[in-house]
Symmetry: C2
Subunit: 208 residues, 2 copies
């Protein structure tokens, strides 16, 4: 039997992640004690540390799953984007934002982002950073796709402009998570207003 030990491992890893996510959502990251997570997952504290390097890693693992879904949602936009530059960008940005808040609260995002900045060399932080890179590349891909279809001026550096768009929407998302009172709609409106002039400038023609 090749599988008993492996099966137990997978089972425990899943239980820990589920317990942690439930408690983080329920009572917040700081208030959820490792001891409580371990108890809910029916393992000891020591075992929990065999599966995750530290408390933050558990959270970042959850976030990485959510970001993966965001990427997939984004690729569906890229498959058939609106031809108008501003609209296409807006569609992608709003997809990102909508899919980012399905499982995670603002507080969980704040903690996860803080960890990925503060301890960038832990494996899961690296994964998070890598996913960020993929999101950035996806925005650049959108600009390039629009360029290929003639909607964006051909001389524009799609990669550079895509990175600027992404860094802006990312920074605005941080801002959004910092201000508890800010709504998703406000966030979308502010980012749309920031992107509008740049989108207009890179557009080949104005659609009337």
């Amino acid at each position: 039997m090749a599988g008993l030990r492996a099966k137990q491992k997978a089972d425990r890893a899943r239980r820990i992640l589920e317990a942690a996510t439930a408690l983080f959502r329920q009572q917040g990251y700081d208030s959820a004690r490792i001891e409580d997570i371990a108890e809910m997952a029916e393992v000891s504290v020591g075992t929990l540390y065999n599966y995750y390097q530290n408390k933050g890693d558990i959270l970042v693992a959850t976030v990485a799953m959510e970001v993966t879904e965001v990427l997939e949602a984004g690729s569906r936009i890229l498959a058939n984007p609106p031809l108008h530059v501003e609209e296409a960008l807006r569609a992608l940005v709003e997809t990102y934002y909508d899919h980012s808040l399905v499982y995670l609260s603002k507080e969980m995002w704040r903690t996860a982002m803080a960890i990925s900045i503060q301890q960038p060399d832990t494996p899961l932080s690296r994964r998070y950073t890598e996913l960020d890179g993929q999101l950035s590349a996806q925005v650049a891909d959108l600009v390039a796709a629009l360029q290929a279809r003639g909607a964006v001026i051909s001389t524009v550096d799609a990669r550079a402009v895509g990175e600027v768009f992404f860094n802006n929407l990312n920074q605005m998302f941080i801002e959004f998570c910092k201000v508890e009172a800010m709504t998703l709609e406000e966030l979308k409106a502010r980012v749309a207003a920031q992107h509008r002039p740049v989108a207009a400038l890179i557009s080949s023609a104005r659609i009337v």
Copy 2:
């Protein structure tokens, strides 16, 4: 005598900040123990907590001072900016980056940024966020100034474009702090490459 108590307070606050900064620089934020900081500042641990809400606050206080200096250096650029858009932006961005690393290490920056994201409601985090807003406004002011001088197309929304530039340079600075191997020169080059196409698009005329 109105001043004995006030004088002692100011003196202790200063000693604590100096001790903490010295130890953070010397051995890193995490390794510097509150007990050591208190001892070096010649106060008790409890007293230290009368002056700062927590360990992070002490660091954020240091960072706030540095950002203030960055803002001042930036305003000197704004007083007499190059007329060419790309050059002017580049001058401002490089001033920001150069002045950001005088007293603070990458690790200290990472910690400070993480704290300001994770606990945005502590007084000093608010101060940090406010200073960030001022930096963003300063970039927008530069674009507006260039517009007033005819170097930037008059129909461009200076505020929106300024915010996009700032969010980009800010995000890139985070990236820079995350990657220990990345040099200041690489950072500057990458940001310049990102800004170049946008700067070109908003320029009124090409200078030959």
